[in-house]
């Protein structure tokens, strides 16, 4: 089963996506809050949901006002599930609970024709509402369709008589002059009020009994309303970020020009644009290498985000997406939390890695590992990552590793590199740095190409670090020495 820690949701941008949804009903809000991922054995259900989402997104523009009307009705739904289970247990509901039930049924009645229209345009599979009119007959026997709830005089003959008497007494009380007369009338009135109360209770009890056969339909409607609410939100999200209907594969993952909505928005605010990332991977290890500051982590987080979105029934933020369903998705990113757990950074990293492996071996999984063993000495670190890569090649999972270590990439099934500063003319940057621009980090960020390209054959990690050092104007004495050491290695 997929479960993602809150910290990881935040770090990959999934929480950002969820926060951008505005579910209207309590049922829809619950679906967003308790996001559920489809399990691999629910493949058919996921396909249905994805199809619904894609069609709903496609019609979002043409059916805008219809969607808004539906959302308006959904906004007015109250969570009546507590009352429904009390009803099922045989509790006699009070006035306010019956009012809420009536309100719910009225909203469903209002929703039905709108849903039918949406269904016509979008063809929503596997979702239906039941006709509330029979249940409404119980709660609105005089078919007033007023929003309020009131037990009408005509609900029973005794009630009619009691209410008539109550009214007469009130008139007499209003006209009474002496205190003694008033007191006598008040006592009389108290008796009548008690009778009214018990008669109303009997009527409420009868209403509850009559409603009993409709409880499961109302529960199903509440659930369907939540799904409809969530579906519309997913569709609107897809429209906002150019979501695409993914093709479900057995094992292969292929994401073309994918984006990360949170980073997209963040960069847009700064007047920059997110560079779409493409990657393909299959069972076994895929290694990403590349410059520091080059966005290896971003690439991996975006893969995780989109895989998870797909498995929750969202459209994928990419031009084209082919994805398998995963038994679990594991993220092993550098995070502060685990370092504070008492173990050293390295220790806790290895503990988490073994735990993740154990879980991933239960079914086809996605493992994303960012710079494993980064904290240890490079010689040992490289050996560890090489061994892990070999092992993961045989594991029943897509594993994507980002690493700096040499000698890892050629062991993997596929090797990607961050384009980084590869195509940039160093002289251009130098010129810029010697000009007015003093902020080296900003200059690098501007020239850095965060895209990935697939490396065929053997290739060592790019040596962009040296370039970056130059741009950040490290002391020339140190730079010279580094350059000299590269030269001696070459010769």
């Amino acid at each position: 089963m997929i479960s993602i820690r809150f910290e990881d949701r935040v770090s990959i941008g999934l929480q950002y996506v969820l926060d951008s949804l505005h579910a209207c009903s309590p049922f829809g809000q619950e679906r967003v809050r308790r996001l559920r991922f489809y399990a691999p054995e629910e493949r058919a259900a996921l396909l249905t949901e994805l199809g619904n989402t894609a069609r709903a997104a496609k019609e979002a523009q043409t059916q805008k006002s219809l969607y808004e009307k539906i959302m308006l009705v959904l906004c007015q739904l109250k969570d009546i599930r507590g009352s429904l289970s009390r009803l099922f247990e045989g509790v006699c509901l009070d006035h306010v609970e019956l009012f809420e039930l009536k309100g719910f049924l009225l909203r469903i009645e209002e929703l039905l024709p709108l849903f039918d229209r949406m269904n016509e345009a979008v063809r929503i599979e596997g979702m239906a509402f039941s006709d509330p009119s029979e249940a409404l007959k119980i709660l609105d026997p005089e078919h007033t369709r007023s929003r309020g709830f009131y037990i009408p005089d005509g609900a029973s003959e005794p009630l009619r008589a009691i209410r008539r008497e109550k009214k007469q007494l009130e008139q007499r009380l209003y006209e009474a002059e002496t205190v003694a007369e008033k007191d006598a009338l008040k006592a009389e009135r108290t008796r009548v009020c008690a009778e009214e109360e018990s008669e109303e209770r009997a009527i409420r009890k009868a209403m509850c009994l009559a409603l009993l056969p409709y409880v499961s339909a109302m529960q199903a409607d509440a659930d369907a309303a939540g799904r409809l609410d969530f579906l519309i939100q997913k569709a609107l999200f897809g429209v906002r970020y150019g979501g695409v209907l993914p093709e479900l594969t057995d094992t292969a993952l292929e994401l073309t020009d994918m984006i990360n909505p949170e980073l997209c928005d963040l960069l847009k605010e700064k007047g920059r644009a997110f560079v779409p990332v493409s990657i393909a991977a299959d069972r076994g290890a895929t290694v990403i290498t590349g410059a520091n500051m080059g966005g290896k982590s971003v690439a991996m987080k975006t893969v995780a985000l989109n895989a998870l979105l797909m498995q929750a029934g969202f459209l994928v933020c990419a031009k084209r997406a082919r994805l398998p369903m995963f038994h679990c998705v594991k993220l092993l990113f550098d995070d502060l939390q685990s370092m504070q757990s008492g173990l050293s950074g390295f220790g806790s990293e290895i503990v988490r890695f073994s735990e993740a492996l154990d879980e991933a071996e239960q079914g086809y999984s996605l493992l994303l590992i960012d710079e494993l063993a980064r904290g240890t000495n490079p010689d040992e670190g490289a050996r560890i990552v090489q061994a892990v890569t070999r092992y993961l090649n045989g594991a029943n999972a897509i594993s994507i590793l980002a690493t700096h270590y040499d000698g890892v990439a050629e062991l993997a099934r596929a090797h990607y590199q961050i384009i980084g500063l590869k195509d940039v003319d160093p002289d251009a940057i130098k010129a810029e740095l010697s000009g007015a621009e003093r902020d080296g980090v900003a200059v690098i960020a501007r020239h850095m190409n965060y895209g990935l390209y697939r490396v065929e054959g053997r290739a060592d990690c790019p040596k962009d670090a040296l370039n970056i050092l130059r741009m950040l104007s490290l002391k020339p004495e140190i730079l010279e020495r580094i350059e000299r050491s590269y030269d001696t290695e070459k010769s």
Binding site: D94, H95, F99, G148, F149, Y150, E196
Partner: protein, 309 residues
């Protein structure tokens, strides 16, 4: 004077009944208001809980609230079983109270009700808005007691101030303190409030002769300024009257120096009611009490025991 008062009460869109103390006669006033205009739809709620037939604080008998048919009330859900009106639930508000959500109910028959309304100003405004959208002609808020009642004017534009012998054994003290609250309730509305400023009060007054007091106005802040003469003929504006924590003596001094004390949120006090009988056993002479109170305020004064029952 009474005719004029009746007219002003009838014209008030929102009306808050506030008391100097428990047993000041608030509920008597409320019942009188509720039953004097049976052809109009009233919306009724309270700040916090009220309406119990025995005062839960003092243990004394008190009148219940009896509403005519057609009245709208806003009260906590758990209070509904204690109301003997025939109820139509009109809407739920989502406003939580310790006694359940606040629910709006239309009385399909006359009867006794127990009120436990919202306790936050903004929620009271929401409820009052709901009453009007449901067709109410007037909203009545059974308001708070003592100092807290000074906040009432941020909710309702009109106030009825209730006082009585239960406040203190000394009639002079009752009259003096009531007059003090009355004066604060009736602070002039600041038509053009001065702009908020970070500068010290003294500097502001010297520059422009006026200042907006962002927080509370206290004796310790005002007395030195009075002595230095910086306040002469100045204009001081507070957010609402509950922010004025000055002693009656200081207030008097301010008025002598020609200081104009104004407020951003303003309301009118329509009348003062007096209850000469204390819940604790003592009584004032009704006529002397009424006359003393009349001399101390500028609005009609009504004896609840005689004029309203």
């Amino acid at each position: 004077m009474r005719d004029d008062l009746d007219k002003r009460i009838a014209e008030a869109r929102t009306l808050s009944i506030v008391g100097m103390c428990k047993n000041a006669g608030k509920t008597t006033v409320l019942n009188w208001l509720l039953n004097r205009s049976r052809d109009r739809v009233l919306g009724l709620t309270s700040i916090g809980r009220d309406g119990e037939s025995v005062d839960v604080v003092t243990g004394t008998e008190k009148p219940g609230i009896f509403i005519p048919e057609g009245t709208l009330i806003a009260t906590a859900k758990d209070m509904l079983s204690l109301c003997d009106i025939t109820q139509e639930i009109v809407c739920t508000t989502g406003i939580p109270t310790p006694l359940g959500e606040v629910v709006l109910v239309r009385a399909k028959s006359a009867g006794n009700v127990q009120l436990a309304g919202p306790s936050i100003t903004s929620q009271l405004k929401t409820v009052s808005g709901l009453f009007f959208s449901l067709g109410a002609d007037q909203t009545i808020i059974d308001g708070a007691l003592g100092r807290k009642s000074l906040g009432a004017r941020t909710v309702a534009e009109n106030v009825i101030l209730c006082t009585g012998a239960s406040y203190d054994m000394r009639m002079e003290k009752v009259v003096q303190d009531t007059a003090n609250v009355f004066r604060l309730l009736n602070l002039k509305k600041a038509e053009t409030p001065p702009e908020e400023s970070e500068k010290p009060l003294k500097e502001l007054l010297r520059e422009s002769g006026e200042a907006l007091i962002p927080g509370a106005l206290t004796d310790t802040a005002i007395l030195p300024l009075l002595k230095s003469g910086a306040l002469r003929n100045a204009r001081l504006v507070v957010k609402d009257p509950s922010k004025v924590l000055l002693s009656p003596d200081t207030l008097e001094k301010l008025s002598v120096r020609g200081v104009s004390l104004e407020t951003v949120d303003a309301a009118k006090t329509l009348c003062v009611t007096v209850n000469p009988v204390s819940a604790y056993g003592w009584k004032f002479d009704p006529d002397a009490f009424l006359r003393a109170m009349e001399a101390a305020v500028t609005v009609p004064v009504i004896n609840v025991k005689e004029a309203l029952s």
